[in-house]
Amino acid sequence: MAWAVFFTLSFLCIGSVVAMILSRNQAHNALFLVLSFSSLGGLFGLLDAPFAAAVQVLVYAGAIMVLFLFAIMMFNLRVELPARVKRARLALTAGLGTVLLAELFLAGRKLVIGSPGAAPAAGGDTARLGHFLFSEYLYAFEITSLLILAALVGALALAGKREGS
């Protein structure tokens, strides 16, 4: 079972990176990377690192790649799509949305209806991780927050410049 999950996820991961190399459309590249990083998140979960898996999906596949997509949209690389492709895309989106809704429903039902005691305890490993972060690696953690602030200010200073100033 674990091997099946491993092979599926690594196939998805490597396949989408290869597709990124072969594709010429930047927006498609970013979406391929979202798929790749999401499956990497699954692999992290397979390595008993649930917190890293969640951060991978939320921060990498979510925040960073959305930032890439915003940047791509700023470059105004717009191509008008034929109507047939648009319809197919709508159908695909509707299908994906239904799957996501069903998934959330299944997960939520388990949480609400299932006996509270049956829920697995949130990984003890995560508690150990938090302990490490706020004791041994406290300085590194605080410096990281400074780094993020510096990146924020730097990005504003760089990209916020007016034309010709």
């Binding site: 190399i21 397979l46 990498y60 150990r128 490490f132 730097g154």
Partner: protein, 100 residues
Amino acid sequence: MIPAAAFFILAAVLFVLGILAFFVKKDLLTQFMAVEVMLNAGNLAFLALAKSLGKAEGQVIVLFVITVAAAEAVIGLAIIVLVFRQRKTIQTDELKDLKG
């Protein structure tokens, strides 16, 4: 139970694919994405080591790598947007002012 070696092989393949993408692709944005792929391969290796050695430090490093990658993405994308504003292109073939 999957041996750590399988994850190491996957991480190595991902890293090499990232390097390949970095040199094959000709636009700054996709090259930047290739860097992200390499960072992720490193993360995977860290987590595989953390599991096989039974230490949580590997996961701490992964969190730091992800944070640094976020900061790096913000600055890098700002620079790419700036380059695009000044040159109207992000194709590296057309950005050749620095050739000695």
